[in-house]
Amino acid sequence: MMHSLLVEGIGVQNWTYILVGVTFAIYIGIAIWSRAGSTKEFYVAGSGVSPLANGMATAADWMSAASFISMAGIISFAGYDGAVYLMGWTGGYVLLALLLAPYLRKFGKFTVPDFIGDRYYSKTARVVAVLCALLVSFTYVAGQMRGVGIVFSRFLEVDINTGVIIGMLIVLFYAVLGGMKGITYTQVAQYCILIFAFMVPAIFISIQMTGNPIPQLGFGGTLAEDSGTYLLDKLDGLSLQLGFSEYTEGTKSMIDVFAITCALMVGTAGLPHVIVRFFTVKRVKDARKSAGIALLLIVLLYSTAPAVAVFARTNMIETVSNQPYASVPQWFKKWESTGLIEFTDKNKDGKIQYLANKDENELVVDRDIMVLANPEISNLPNWVVALVAAGGLAAALSTAAGLLLVISSSVSHDLIKKMINPKISEKGELVAARLSAVGAVCVAGYFGINPPGFVAAVVALAFGLAAASFFPAIILGIFYKRMNKEGAIAGMVVGITAMMLYMIKYKLGWFDEVLPDKSDWWFGISPEGFGSVAMLLNFIVSMVIMAFTPAPPEEVQDIVETIRIPNGAGKATH
């Protein structure tokens, strides 16, 4: 018994080294092959990426450690409520494809602050946009680095800090060398790896539990060992027995589910690192198409995640609930040693009581481990367990690289070239871009090693901030010719301030002695959902201020006319 466990452990370890090593070699190889020679290649890959490649890169860019590692876990604990992430993070692409991507591509500049600055003919507007972009990107990237740390520390058995540093070096290498071009082609590879790594265990487990190889159908099917019972009914029953609410019902109020879904959708459409992706294709036509391809590829993972959530939840309850602690499986002990599973035998009966009631519950399971531990819980082969580690790293690294690029182009292009030193040479700007990428990696790494206590809170904030600031300004800039700089600037400032204040009060609790209770929330809307309210405020303030201030100059109105027509989109320019 001891012997076989030992061999199995070494097996997973070696497989992990092999798979992670091979994938890293691929990323570095691509970086060397596709390094950028000009600022155009560095910022937007020379605008010559095919819609398919761009769609894959967008999908990898978008699906972060949070999508890959945490989302299915969150859903498996939240049940129906998990739908806010599923609909929120995919529905935003519809807005992006229909309302933003084609027009921003036609506009043909490098960055989101470029658009805001030119459309609203104002340096102030550009500065506000740059600050929002930096704030959103930095908060987001800190979370990615933590994801890298978790995967490394568990699977390579190094400590979290070493894991973060290895991740930093790899990202640094290909982001600094390749710019957007290198990142795009690396992300194509990363998409393939992460989707394979997510689907393989899901299919295995679906067959095991329901006999259906398609997880999306399997979790709505009947049990493999009892064809009279539906899996979801069984899980609803188990949940009720343990004192939780029914899995398919959830606990959040309807208005809060509505608000969070809306904030995540709009936030997705307003995230600078996603928007900038659509500047890399040749024509407006391609921008529309690649948004569709990106969403198709994203939905492949997102529609599987709720199935994985149901499998994992059922499996976990059945494996541990009311079982003697002395006979728990090996994976339980392994995760216990990382502190991500905790068991306290409160009633001293030697058995694990997993219950909704906090006073009697004896088991605490971190949501982040569900996807990583799932293959082990189901006794899948070692190489599958290792594959999940490689997939998690691909997801975290691809998103971190995309964000770093936004940060570096914000600094070198929007700040240095457009504001501090407009005469900077092409070569000088490229050097500046690379140096700011190095700086950004170091800051991100610092946050990965010393995560501020509120990282999770701040990542949710990133969406709210993007929803409250960029989205209304860009939409009005395209669809409402009369919108002027006064309205847009006032709207962005009011939106982002309202969002920050609400988060600080109700999420971080800095204004009060203790964090205010749910019952104090405005209209019952949580801080995660407040982005929708802040976005509405932004729209209203913009419209009111605009009504009392002069219309934008003729040439700006002409720009709006031009971006509405798809043909004649040149390459993205300065």
Binding site: V94, T222, L295, V299, E561, N567
Partner: protein, 85 residues
């Protein structure tokens, strides 16, 4: 001037498409998945309650279809107004 007229007509049709597609977008996600979830849950689709299915599966599929329909419609529209060059 006729150039301008052409552009205005194109834009009008474009907005018409957007309104229809975004209405469907709203109805499946916020409608079927959230507001009318409880009513729809009384209908079952195999093991799925229908409202739950829309929230965790159905909306996602509809989103993908919506974007591809939009791409098709717009490509046709571009051709009609001679903007497909």
């Amino acid at each position: 001037m006729s150039n301008n007229k052409n552009a205005t007509a194109y834009w009008k049709e474009n907005i018409g498409y957007l309104l229809i597609l975004l209405t469907i977008w709203f109805l499946v996600s916020f409608g079927a998945g959230i507001l009318f979830k409880d009513t729809l849950n009384s209908i079952r689709l195999g093991g799925f309650k229908l409202g739950f299915w829309f929230a965790q599966q159905g909306s996602l599929y509809v989103f993908v279809v919506l974007i591809f329909v939009y791409v098709r419609l717009m490509n046709k529209l571009d051709k009609k107004y001679g903007y497909d060059a």
